[in-house]
């Protein structure tokens, strides 16, 4: 089986949540409002084993995929998307963007459906587009393999963070268990700092100085509509946390 694909630079995949590696989250902290996404993958799903390898097991039937994300509402375009729909940070763009339309979070043999454009996307999959995937193999897997390696290398950090939170926050564990049972699945968005604290050489002051203005700006750009309330709350929570940590003045004024 062959699949053809060529990007037409329509920019349609550059919207909303963008999974980031820990390293990309840190280097783009001045650009994206950050959060951590916890997603459940059930036993029996094709991505189950890989999810456990790169993430952690919640219980017998559920694996957790845990990833930093650029936390933007689905209707918001990437801040790095140019007016001509080209990426303005092509040279330094996240590994997730480089691998699109493939995903290193899934097995290489399980990528065929990712080459079917999502509704509204203008990807070229006609006969004039090159073959990019054949018999379960990506023909030029350079970016895919690079992303997979990044995910494998950070797995130990993700696992240490996840084990720490699951142990310390029983309500989180219970909520994830409930989400896992829903047919539509369930995902949870958490603050990113507890994860970053697990990173060796993490420079909190530097991170806060780069991330706080982005959170403030993202907050200001949210429309008043109730559908954005969760984003508002999460941005405010993130800001408050950074404020708390930035304080070095002693006592009261």
């Amino acid at each position: 089986m062959e699949r053809r694909f060529a990007c037409t630079v329509c920019g349609k995949c550059c919207y909303g949540w963008l999974p980031l590696s820990i390293s990309d989250a840190l280097s783009h902290a001045h650009r994206f409002p950050l959060a951590v996404l916890w997603g459940t993958v059930r036993q029996g799903a094709k991505a189950f084993d890989l999810t456990e390898e790169l993430g952690i097991r919640l219980d017998k039937k559920t694996a957790l995929r845990i990833t930093p994300i650029a936390y933007l509402p689905p209707s918001f375009q990437c801040p790095a998307l140019g007016e001509d729909m080209r990426c303005t940070i092509h040279e330094e763009k996240p590994v997730r963007c480089r691998t699109m339309p493939f995903s290193a979070d899934r097995e290489m043999s399980d990528q065929a459906d990712l080459l079917i454009p999502r509704s509204g996307w203008l990807c070229n999959t006609k006969s004039d587009a090159p073959v990019v995937y054949r018999d379960g193999k990506i023909l030029d897997a350079t970016d895919f393999i690079r992303e997979r390696h990044v995910l494998q290398d950070q797995a130990v950090t993700i696992q240490s963070y996840a084990a720490f939170l699951l142990k310390g926050a029983p309500s989180l564990k219970a909520e994830l268990g409930r989400q896992a049972k829903r047919p539509a699945g369930g995902q949870i968005v958490l603050k990113i700092l507890p994860l970053l604290r697990k990173v060796a050489d993490f420079d909190l002051a530097d991170f806060a100085a780069r991330q706080a203005p982005v959170l403030r700006d993202s907050l200001n750009r949210l429309p008043e509509a109730p559908e954005f309330n969760e984003y508002r709350r999460n941005y405010v929570d993130g800001l408050e946390e950074l404020d708390r940590l930035q304080i070095s003045a002693k006592g009261t004024i």
Binding site: P19, D113, A184, Q246
Partner: protein
Amino acid sequence: MTLCLCHSGLEFDACCGRILSGAQAATPEALMRARVSAFIGGDMEFLERTLAPESKADFDRHAIEASMKGVEGLGFEVRGQEGGGEADQEGRLEYVARFKANGQPLAHHERAFFRRENGNWLYVDGEVNPKAPPRHVEKVGRNDPCSCGSGKKYKKCCGA
């Protein structure tokens, strides 16, 4: 015209300047803003005089004077308030005051408590870096994109 040190955007004389020179602060917020302006401007007398009597013993003029050296105000943001109205004798104000000290940005986040005496609002005490109630489970959407970043719905992607 000189803009007020509390970054209200108002003229100093129409904002904290009035209160620093003796006018009554109408609300805890007005008092707190004036205290921040006094801190930036080095008005120790004002800081001491607007403290509740029981808090004056803790007032360490030298420590404050040392900590305000080279401080520049960057903003004052109200996060929440209770009471503090015309009919109230007490009020709470949660705020974040932002400064730059020795080139480093810093934020002072406090939930402060105020009491009215003889018509004047006084600062009683405050909790610095008040803890927000734990809240971390936020978002569960029916049609959220899958966590693998494919752009597909979870139920048609890794949830299939």
